[in-house]
Amino acid sequence: MSSRDIYQLMVKAKEVLPYSLGKCVVSVSGKGGVGKTTFTALLLKALIEEGMDSILVVDADPDTNLPDVLGIEVKRTVGEVVTRMKKDIDEGKIPPGTDKELMLEAMISETLIEGSSFDMLVMGRPEGEGCYCFVNLLLTRILDRLTSNYRITLMDMEAGLEHVSRRTDRDVDIMVVVTDASKMGLLTAQRIRRLAREVHVEIRQLYVVGNQIPPELEGVVRKRAQDLALKYVGSIPFDKEIMEYNLVGRSLLELPSQNPAYAAVREIAQTIRLV
């Protein structure tokens, strides 16, 4: 068997085996308010219930509330740490003989919320003016090192690519764009695909998931997605139970397995070969 054959076999294997057997970066995106945070939480639940215990969850959308939805308390965000580091540098507070990258790495490690099956990093956003070039360079390397430790990195992102393009290994294995029954929702998916090309981020698979789409409109959304050459992989039904959990601040990870929205997400996870 030549090395070329082996390579082709490997490519084939990658096409049929679940991603979770290797290392995998999954991004969830979409325009504001379409329910991507809910989807991320339910996808996380599906992964955990499959026995996956090496997951890094990255909350990369400063405007969302993934920690709340998961019932997790955030003490400090990466953005806050970066701001503090920048301030300490500005004020000359860092001893000149020390290494700033080591320092920032430890500070970021401190923000990491550690659990049994997943750890969670909350990005937040840095504040204040001035030049963040150097701190961002350090951040890139630190995040690279950190994510390489997990089998699955699950990112809840704003509808841009800032946090994806920040990593040196910028490629995303799976990008799921959540949409509602609006034209804008689907256009967001198209925009992300175009943006990825512009900033040289490879998205290996881009899928669209519908959220709370009235059953009678699902066909229209599917058709529309198809027209835009987007792979529509499933819909999550409207769910009163999730609303109740959110209202009382209960973690979506505690939802019963038979919850219909969760069941839909679990099926989507299988469709996209994540589990």
């Binding site: 215990d53 920048k86 540098i89 500005d90 004020e91 000359g92 001893p95 000149p96 003989g97 020390t98 290494d99 700033k100 990258e101 080591l102 320092m103 790495e105 430890a106 490690s109 401190e110 550690e114 659990g115 049994s116 750890d119 003016e129 001035g130 030049c131 070039c133 150097f134 701190v135 360079l137 390397r141 090192r145 950190l146 390489s148 430790n149």
Partner: protein, 474 residues
């Protein structure tokens, strides 16, 4: 070098390996411990016993599982050619060498270290610090052949850690004092930084021990560390070359780098001058220094200053004068830290030429300002325009007053007009790296230098410059 006697693997492949909370056997130091340290000392030959590993306090296997404990590690090395100046460089490697050990995570440095040892590694037999000590010792001797002997002491006894920590902090402080006193003469290489090339594609920031990067974030040591981690990254060594003038900061190596990165646009830089070939700057500087011809002095305004500077211009306008990798005599983007350098605008007279800066900056760099000058430098509270500034400088008898022409006092008071804000000529467009092409001289005509600018597929603009004219300018 063999690690056959170590129960777990040792190698670069384990660098960056994280021991997650669930997997950890014990946490050494870390954010929840007040007392922790690592220290490397260069000792006389007779005081180091090669191969010795000592543990003061309970050994690894006897530490409480799942808990965090105070922790310290001291590495003592000896060698005929070793100097104490190397301690800091060696000590940074402790981080790497710990991390090479499978199932050992090491973060941070000095008195902030944070280690974890994985359960799986302890189960494999890594149950004693002795193994870790042996790894450190062998790694140090292998990486630095001038280290002839190495011994390692681990501290887990809370009292011993606390005691040693006190001593370690004294060593750190003495070391920092030495770093602060480091001069350009003490090193062979400066560092270049092109981190901001997305904003200023033809800029290179030159970082020396006495000149921080203009963004204020990167010291010479930082740049060196960054260049070592990623040799093809944005930080790289710049050989000093010949030093033509130490006060101006004129080095042939720096000129070559400037030429290369500016595509031949900038041919010469004086690192420490504001008026004579000042360094080119990206756009990330913390403050702008600007020459004020009306008083023959230097003003400084920083990014956070909300008002207008004494010459009537806000930071943003002044920044536009100098940003984008251009060399603009009389304007220079600088870091706050640079104001603490003893070479700060030395050719112009340094602090004795500074006449105005915002109060917030003045207070921040108070220690760097000669005490006899401190009250003579105006802030926004003393002067908000050139008129008031002149009055102030005269009243306090600032050193620049002596530079003023004697008839000044009889002269009519000039309108305090701000220097004309020339529209910024810098256009932040993508430039394709390209060497300037010199055309052969036409018979009997002048020779031309052609620079291609904003080149994508076709050249949008061709600049023909008579070389003769340029020579005349010089």
């Amino acid at each position: 070098m063999s690690f056959a006697d170590i129960p777990v693997d040792v190698g670069v492949v384990y660098e960056g390996e994280r021991v997650r909370k669930e997997q950890m056997f014990v946490e050494l130091g870390g954010p929840d411990e007040d007392h922790k340290f690592e220290l490397l000392l260069v000792k006389p030959m007779e005081e180091v016993e090669d191969g010795k590993v000592e543990v003061v306090g309970p050994d690894l296997k006897d530490l409480p599982e799942g808990e965090h404990v105070p922790f310290g590690v001291k590495v003592e090395v000896a060698g005929e050619q070793l100097e104490r100046d190397l301690e800091g460089v060696f000590e940074r490697r402790i981080h790497d060498f710990f991390n090479y050990i499978q199932g050992v995570m090491h973060l941070n440095q000095r008195d902030t270290i944070w280690l974890r040892v994985a359960k799986s590694s302890v189960q494999k037999g890594l149950d004693s610090f002795r193994y870790i000590g042996l790894v450190l010792q062998r790694m140090f001797k292998a990486e630095f052949p001038i280290i002839e002997k190495a011994q390692v002491t681990f501290y887990t006894d809370p009292k011993a850690v606390e005691e040693q920590l006190k001593f370690a902090r004294e060593v750190y402080e003495a070391r920092d004092a030495r770093v602060r006193g480091m001069r350009d003469e003490d090193v062979d290489e400066f560092y270049g930084c092109t981190l901001c090339q997305s904003f200023a594609p033809t800029n290179v920031c030159i970082i020396t021990p006495q000149r921080y990067a203009a963004c204020g974030a990167i010291s010479w040591l930082d740049a060196r560390a960054s260049a070592r981690i990623n040799p093809s990254g944005p930080n790289f060594p710049i050989p000093k070359g010949e030093c033509k003038d130490p006060d101006l900061g004129w080095y042939t190596g720096v000129d070559e780098a400037a030429k290369k990165y500016s595509m031949g646009e900038i041919e010469h830089i004086n690192l420490y001058s504001l008026l004579d070939h000042p360094p080119c700057i990206c756009g990330c500087f913390e403050a702008v220094a600007f020459y004020i011809p009306e008083v023959d002095g230097i003003g400084i305004v920083h990014r956070d200053f909300k008002g207008v500077a004494v010459n009537g211009l806000p930071f943003s306008t002044l920044a536009d004068q100098t940003a984008g990798g251009r060399q603009v005599p009389g304007f220079n983007g600088i870091s706050i830290e640079y104001m603490r350098s003893s070479r700060f605008f030395k050719p112009e007279g340094g602090w004795s030429r500074v006449v105005w800066l915002p109060k917030a900056v003045k207070e921040r760099v108070k220690d760097a300002i000669p005490p006899e000058l401190y009250d003579k430098i105006a802030t926004e509270e003393d002067a908000t325009n050139l008129e008031e500034l002149k009055e102030f400088l005269k009243r306090v008898n600032h050193p620049v007053v002596e530079r003023w022409p004697k008839e000044e006092e009889e002269e009519e008071v000039e309108e305090a007009a701000p220097p004309e804000a020339a529209p910024p000529t810098f256009a932040p467009t993508v430039q394709v790296p390209m060497q300037p092409v010199t055309m052969p001289a036409a018979p009997a005509g002048p020779s031309f230098k052609i620079s291609f600018k904003n080149v994508r597929v076709r050249a949008e603009k061709l600049v023909f410059r008579k070389l003769e004219e340029e020579k005349k300018k010089k």
